[in-house]
């Protein structure tokens, strides 16, 4: 104990720097977890909340609308994990192969840019681009393909969510992988080149194995947010024709919980979401540990 205190005293500046981060997590992450008890209570603004037991969960699970939005959330999240997760890895591998400094910087800046746009702006861009007389349909018409109204098509709208999210986040998410690639010793590549390894072989035998820990960690952490299928995105891209395909848990909770002031109901839905995220994180972590020896901790 004394040794620990001594170490803290000698590194007090480092601990001081840690303090704002810890305070942030306590206020915005730990205290809300404690307040999740609201899911088991009826909320009152003035006075004590009253105990409601599992009432809100019963209402939640008995609602057919909830089951539909849950299904949409799982489908959209799965599509995003499968199709979006590998893109930043591929992009980082491609960017790391670009030799020209200015061109590399240009590519990186252009790919990061959409991350800084709000979903209101992105929705405007995509709605215009995918409209029957928008840019994408002009390209289709050039190849003698008929125009399609992607935004109101039940068959395409989930793909619109996947591709618009991919466009927005691929560049930004690749930063982590680019940083991991830059940490790889250049000597390894030099040695491989001397042994006659091709660019592809260097990527396969040096870069990818070095990226494995980062990829696994990011994947497991991403799974924790599996049930967050993208409120802002769906809210801005939804229209009457595609409600049944992209109405997700978050938009449902927003309508029923926040707009109608049903806070306990909204908390019950969020707790359910959080519980699934926790199970997914722990499950994937232990599975990954067993299979690859790598996990989050």
């Amino acid at each position: 104990m004394k040794a620990k205190l001594k170490r803290i005293r000698s590194d007090w500046i480092l601990y001081l720097m840690l303090l704002p981060g810890i305070t942030y997590f306590i206020i915005f992450h730990v205290i809300p977890i404690i307040n999740m008890k609201l899911a088991f209570e009826d909320y009152r603004i003035i006075g004590e909340n009253t105990w409601a037991g599992l009432k809100h969960f019963q209402v939640l699970f008995s609602s057919p609308a909830f089951m539909d939005v849950l299904q949409n959330t799982i489908i959209i999240s799965t599509m995003k994990i499968i199709f979006i997760f590998p893109i930043p890895i591929i992009l980082s591998l491609l960017i790391s192969e670009v030799r020209s400094g200015p061109f590399r910087k240009y590519v990186q800046s252009v790919s990061y840019l959409p991350h800084f746009l709000s979903w209101v702006v992105i929705a405007g861009i995509w709605i215009s681009f995918l409209s029957p007389d928008g840019g994408f349909n002009i390209i289709r018409n050039f190849f003698q393909l008929p125009s399609l109204d992607f935004m109101t098509s039940k068959d395409h709208i989930r793909w619109v969510l996947v591709f618009s999210e991919m466009w927005r986040s691929a560049g930004w998410d690749s930063i982590l992988y680019i940083a991991a690639i830059m940490k790889i010793s250049p000597h390894l590549y030099e040695a491989a080149q001397l042994d006659g390894a091709s660019t592809f072989q260097q990527m396969r035998h040096i870069t990818l194995p070095a990226l494995a820990t980062t990829v696994v960690t990011v994947f497991i952490l991403n799974l924790g947010f599996f049930m967050n299928a993208g409120f802002d995105q769906v809210f801005n891209l939804m229209n009457d024709s595609v409600i049944s395909k992209i109405d997700i848990l978050d938009t449902y909770v927003y309508r029923i919980g926040l707009l109608n002031g049903e806070y306990s109901y909204a908390t019950a839905a969020s707790l359910f979401k959080g519980a699934i995220g926790l199970v997914l994180i722990l499950g994937t972590h232990f599975l990954s540990k067993r299979l690859t020896g790598k996990g989050v901790w």
């Binding site: 003035i46 609602s63 609308a65 109204d149 024709s241 595609v242 409600i243 029923i256 109901y265």
Partner: protein
């Protein structure tokens, strides 16, 4: 030393607990110079808005001058974003101002007895009781916590006068606005190249309904039949209405991208000449459209207001009288309830109306010996935050040179008031809200798919079946028990 520290901490805790568990009535807060502090939460009127600060400072001065009331307003900053959501979060945090403007989300607060029943106050009032509009009285009877004295808020169709003058079908429509005459006008707008499509709406068909729903026989939310009340959206009349909208869509008269239109892109389509007709809330909004369309297309583009379609009935729809959808409320836990109402009553007086509706003297209006002249700043910047009764009295008449509303703005207000009709809908029980949400979504999706041709018209029967299965049967039973 340790004991002293322990004692101090214990005392601090006891003090805190005592403060938290106090059952005493809240005391009115006063400033050092004896003014009562009135906390206000109002959309866009936070302390960071200099216009709002000036408004409430001037109001406080006028209250002192005209009523000898010593008040100081404290504006609360409601976070940016959806107002009803952010206000709801503010109130649920326990911060309940004396005077609150709601734009939804009030029912949950009223259910917890945190809003004042305004009826006894209004009965005793000096001015407010005389400016209530018929719809206000009905709504107050059903839900006495919100007050919003404004003209009835129907949306009315408008078209550019210069385009209307060119159309041979215009006279027939204005003389007899049947569904057929409306369609002929729409066809001519497109055929003559005056617009790409005759009409656009923002995202759903609610705006189209303002023009056509009555003509198809839908004059209330619950239609009376021989077998009792039937929800209008599952009626045969609804099917006929959807068939007509489908026709408009197929023939390119209704904007084929209306589903992805927002209010701003809808307005842009009208100003840019892509859409021939749009609807706008009567009064100030039509006035705003008129100013904007003339800026873009010249003076001759002044708006003309069109009447609602005539068929089985004629009107802009039935107005929900279960409650105000927005309005001002007084906190039931406020120590200043009487004073807050006195302020609201003052705003209904000739002096209060002159200030709230006409703005600052010398900036938004100028007083001459016998009249009030409005300035350009009035038309571009000013809006009444509180009451806007149709018949208004100021200390002097408004100069005929500078009317409060443009011709189309005034016409739209008169037309809306002429067609006021009461709806028979009722407030849903809180536990049915998630069910209602699912049923509404079902309608929105089926109606959109039928209109856009993704589903055949016969799919309406599937929708009716699904709607009843999703809770419509219970809701219809409730309606038949509730509606007298």
């Amino acid at each position: 030393m340790k004991k002293i520290k322990f004692l101090l901490i214990a005392l601090l805790f006891i003090g805190l607990l005592a403060a938290c568990s106090s059952d005493e009535e809240p005391q009115a807060e006063v400033t050092e110079d004896g003014k009562t502090i009135i906390k206000v939460a109002f959309k866009d009127d936070g302390p960071s808005n200099p216009n709002a600060v000036k408004y409430y400072e001037t109001l406080a001065e006028k209250l002192k001058e005209d009523k000898d009331l010593d008040v100081q307003f404290e504006l609360l900053e409601v976070a940016q974003g959806d107002y009803s959501e952010k206000l709801s979060l503010l109130l649920n945090s326990g911060e309940i101002p004396d005077l609150i403007y709601f734009q939804g989300g009030d029912q949950q607060i009223a259910n917890q007895d945190l809003l004042v029943d305004l009826r006894p106050y209004i009965e005793e009032s000096e001015y407010l009781k005389d400016i209530l509009q018929p719809h206000n009285e009905l709504r107050l009877d059903n839900y006495p916590y919100l007050l919003w004295v404004k003209p009835i808020d129907y949306k009315v169709p408008v078209v550019r006068q210069d385009i209307l003058n060119e159309l041979s079908t215009a006279d027939a429509l204005l003389a007899d606005p049947t569904i057929e005459n409306y369609k002929s006008l729409f066809e001519e707008i497109v055929e003559t190249g005056n617009a790409d499509y005759a009409m656009t709406v923002a995202g759903d068909i609610a705006e189209l309904d303002f023009i056509f729903e009555n003509a198809f026989g839908i004059n209330q939310t619950w239609l009376e039949t021989d077998d009792g009340y039937v929800f209008s959206k599952v009626s045969e009349q609804e099917k006929e209405k959807l068939a007509f909208y489908r026709e408009l869509y197929e023939e390119g008269l209704l904007d084929n991208q209306y589903l992805t239109k927002q209010w701003d892109t809808k307005e842009d389509a009208f100003y840019d000449g892509k859409a021939g007709v749009i609807v706008g809330t009567n009064g100030k909004v039509v006035d705003f459209y008129n100013t904007r369309v003339k800026e873009v297309n010249g003076e001759e583009a002044e708006l003309a207001v069109l009447p609602p379609a005539k068929g089985i009935y004629q009107g802009f729809g039935a107005s929900d009288v279960t409650k105000e959808s927005r309005g001002v409320a007084i906190s039931a836990v406020s120590p200043n309830k009487d004073l807050v109402f006195e302020i609201l009553d003052y705003l209904a007086s000739p002096e209060g109306q002159q200030f709230d509706r006409l703005g600052f003297e010398g900036e938004h209006h100028n007083e001459t010996d016998d009249s009030i002249e409005l300035t350009d700043a009035y038309y571009s910047d000013w809006y009444a935050r509180y009451w806007e009764p149709v018949d208004v009295e100021f200390t002097k008449p408004i100069s005929e040179e500078t009317p409060m509303l443009s011709k189309p703005g005034l016409e739209s207000e008169q037309l809306a008031s002429e067609y006021f009709a009461e709806d028979n809908t009722f407030i849903l029980p809180q536990e049915s809200i998630s069910q209602w949400d699912a049923m509404e979504n079902l309608y929105r999706e089926y109606s959109a798919d039928i209109i856009t041709g993704k589903l055949p018209l016969d799919a309406f029967e599937d929708f009716v079946e699904e709607w009843y299965a999703a809770g419509g049967t219970e809701l219809t039973e409730l309606a038949n028990e509730t509606i007298k």
